[in-house]
């Protein structure tokens, strides 16, 4: 195969390369600022773990900005002292090391990764290798190829976020996975070491455009939403209630305080128990219905079928979704957009299976809802 030797001084695409390179630098800087803002916001809320994760992203993109600027100086204006190539490798590896260490440590702690700091150790060794090895050495390729392994960490992180999010947020996380994937291809096609191995200049242009588009994708995925907090929605669940509007009966309830050992109290206590069995339940259902109608009357609300949406207390949030005949109600200790999505899905599920059917509600056994337990757990992503 014939490879091209791109001379950046004479190539007719020089202005295009300069423009793309500048835009990539700017977008990296923009990403760094985005995560810096998120770090500051989460630090204000005293959430140190999330602040650390966002700081890792800030470091990653700050490093990327510096590297892209140096690459531009080297390629287009021949700024190429002896240390430049080494600086690029070492900085790139250092920021990946910090990023990997923070992310892996956090996800091992919460039990999502079982990697035992493998990726951190791997990038640490790579960092030492790049630090000690001459960039002109033939062995540098071994390190570059070995550098593919830690690239899995952002992908695993994005997959984890996809599994933990729902609705629009999940779509954004899918965009993040694709963007990360295309970003890697873009970086691979634009690397200096690749330039002598590509058959046409068009590959470099494609690589840079891919980087540009995927950086935009990554930005859109993270823009104006606290993805990490939303992904932790399961940690703040307390109770789910489903109430029949007409009779004020509690038709279903699920204690979510201990998701790992989740048990549906109603069904575990016996399938033959009638709904509305305990005083507490009637108090809760009556209370919610009562509050709903009182508030509608006090505020002169014209939302006929749809009533109360949210009750915010000091450390508790009650989310409500109104259906034709039922109200789904979720008590949590954090206000996250994700809950609304799940609540709607559960409401639709119950309406499809029960409300639309002719049922004698007055004489209904709790066992009727036993099949729903698995469905609800599936919706709420509960494995046990």
């Amino acid at each position: 195969m014939i490879f091209v030797d791109i001379d950046f001084a004479t190539t007719p695409y020089r202005p295009l390369y300069i423009a793309l390179n500048f835009l990539i630098s700017y977008l990296s800087l923009q990403m760094a600022f985005l995560f810096l803002t998120k770090t500051r916001k989460t630090r204000k809320k005293d959430n140190k773990t999330m602040a650390r994760i966002y700081s890792a992203f800030t470091i990653l993109f700050t490093g990327a900005t510096i590297i892209t600027i140096i690459i531009a100086l080297k390629r287009y204006w021949n700024y190429d002292p002896w240390w430049v190539q080494k600086f690029i490798y070492v900085t790139m590896c250092l920021m990946i090391f910090i990023f990997t260490a923070v992310l892996e440590h956090h996800y091992i702690q919460i039990g999502e990764f079982k990697s035992k700091h493998f990726f951190t150790i791997w990038t640490g060794i790579l960092f030492m290798g790049f630090l000690l090895l001459n960039p002109e050495s033939a062995y540098i390729w071994v390190l570059i190829l070995a550098g593919i392994v830690p690239l899995l960490i952002p992908v695993l992180f994005a997959i984890f976020l996809v599994t933990k999010t729902a609705g629009t947020l999940r779509k954004r996380m899918i965009l993040l996975i694709f963007s990360t994937f295309f970003l890697y291809i873009g970086i691979a096609l634009s690397m200096d070491t690749m330039l002598e191995r590509i058959p046409s200049e068009i590959f470099l242009i494609i690589g840079m455009i891919l980087m540009l588009l995927s950086l935009n994708g990554v930005y859109l995925a993270w823009y104006r939403v606290d993805v990490v907090a939303e992904a932790g929605w399961q940690n703040h669940l307390e109770t789910l209630f489903i109430i029949r509007k007409l009779t004020h009966n509690l038709i279903y309830s699920l204690d979510l305080t201990d998701i790992s050992g989740l048990q549906n109290k109603d069904t575990s206590e016996g399938n033959n128990k009638k709904i509305n069995k305990s005083k507490d339940e009637s108090f809760i259902t009556g209370g919610i219905i009562g509050i709903d109608s009182l508030i509608k009357s006090i505020s002169e609300s014209k939302a006929e079928q749809k009533g109360l949406k949210l009750i915010e207390q000091e450390n508790k949030y009650i989310f409500l979704e109104h259906g034709v005949d039922i109200i789904t109600c979720l008590i949590t200790n954090k206000n996250l957009n994700t809950y609304r999505y799940y609540l709607r899905t559960i409401r639709n599920l119950f309406e499809t299976f029960y409300v639309s059917k002719t049922i004698d509600w007055s004489n209904l056994e709790q066992s009727v809802f036993a099949p729903m337990e698995q469905e609800v757990k599936k919706i709420l992503n509960i494995n046990k």
């Binding site: 500048f22 835009l23 509050i291 508030i295 009357s297 505020s299 014209k302 009533g307």
Partner: protein, 365 residues
């Protein structure tokens, strides 16, 4: 004066070219952000304001595309045309901004739009007649004029918020960023390039980028436009003892006067709190949201007092005003509430405090 050759070349111009590409990108990014807000916002006035801002950034972005083509790529013989397209794009953006702004403000004669529109028509005539200098002069007149008009809007913004410090800081930022953008725009001119050489474009583009980013940061962090029409959304205020006794109330909007007995509402608010505390074991409520209404609460558990605002939607400004009102209430009556004998007449001074905090007289029957 230096003899500058177009298209510009060399290290300095190449860097300024890269920076100007970033500037175009940021302008279009801002255009996209405002268009997105325009398409997704449900609040009509804010919607159009977003569309107005998007026009400014669209005009600015297109202007710089023409400048880049004119100064870095095109044959000097046709350069003038591209420069003029740039000026016309800028004036078009400004005119559209003025048109939408005056429509939002319900202007009777649309004076700024007519003024900017005249500039635009004259610029197009100059282009047809080939008078580049004329178009340039018109653009250089239109830009500061538009800047003054935008500043006037920010002044109004500050005034509506009662010169709130939080908003004033942002508006100062906007003012400063506009000065930086104007300085950057000043240095992009041919006269400045001829005076200081093509490298001045690096300074010009850098100033422009810094200015536009600061502008973007300040404007995107300005409080929601809804905050300034909080009065329109305010319906009622209640101060209730947790036992249900109504201490003070005021209605701003009331659709059904017969049904809304304030004493019953006081009792209802109190019972809601009791029921909720039994459900969630939390004693306080911060807010309740319905599809078309919101209730904002502020509790003084040690003083046995609850403040509640009923509004058409949740607005931060209302929450802040409720806090201010209850703080004033606490200063005045906090000490004597325990020994209160049930005479609601003692709370009469609250009428004046309410007038002051909510800046409005009650609805007269």
């Amino acid at each position: 004066m230096l003899n500058v050759e177009y298209p510009l070349s060399g290290t300095g111009p190449e860097i300024s070219f890269g920076l100007e590409v970033i500037l175009v990108y940021i302008s279009f990014q801002m255009f996209g952000v405002f268009i997105y807000r325009y398409l997704t916002s449900t609040f009509k006035e804010q919607n159009l304001r977003n569309l107005a801002w998007s026009m400014i950034f669209l005009g600015y972005g297109i202007t710089y595309i023409f400048y880049i083509i004119a100064d870095y790529f095109i044959n000097p013989a046709v350069r003038d045309y591209f420069s003029q397209y740039g000026y016309i794009s800028l004036t078009s953006g400004i005119t559209l901004y003025a048109l939408l702004s005056e429509y939002i403000e319900k202007s009777k004669w649309y004076p700024v739009t007519i003024f900017c529109g005249t500039f635009l028509v004259l610029s197009i005539i100059s282009l047809i007649l080939g008078h580049r200098d004329m178009t340039l002069n018109l653009a250089f007149l239109a830009v500061p004029f538009a800047a003054v008009y935008i500043l006037r809007y920010f002044y109004k913004y500050a005034k509506i918020t009662n010169f709130n410090k939080r908003v004033l800081g942002k508006i100062a930022g906007l003012f400063l960023s506009m000065l930086i953008i104007l300085a950057g725009y000043f240095f992009v001119s041919d006269a400045m390039t001829a005076r200081f050489g093509p490298d001045i474009r690096v300074l010009s583009a850098s100033l422009n980028i810094i200015g536009v980013i600061c502008f973007m940061f300040a404007i995107l962090n300005l409080p929601d436009y809804r905050e300034f029409v909080w009065k329109q959304h305010l319906r009622a205020l209640f101060i209730v003892r947790t036992s249900g006794i109504l201490l003070f109330n005021r209605f701003w909007k009331r659709e059904n006067k017969e049904n809304s007995n304030e004493y019953l509402i006081g009792g209802a608010l109190s019972s809601i709190q009791t029921v909720l505390s039994n459900i969630t074991e939390e004693t306080s409520i911060n807010r309740m949201e319905l599809e078309d209404k919101a209730l904002l609460f502020k509790m003084y558990p040690d003083k046995d007092v609850v403040g509640c605002i009923i509004a058409d939607e949740y607005i931060d400004s209302l929450n802040e005003r409720l806090n201010v009102f209850l703080d004033r209430f606490d200063v005045m009556f906090g000490g004597s509430l325990k020994d209160w004998d049930g005479n609601t007449q003692v709370f009469l001074p609250l009428e004046s405090i309410c007038d002051e905090v909510f800046m409005e007289k009650p609805q007269t029957d």
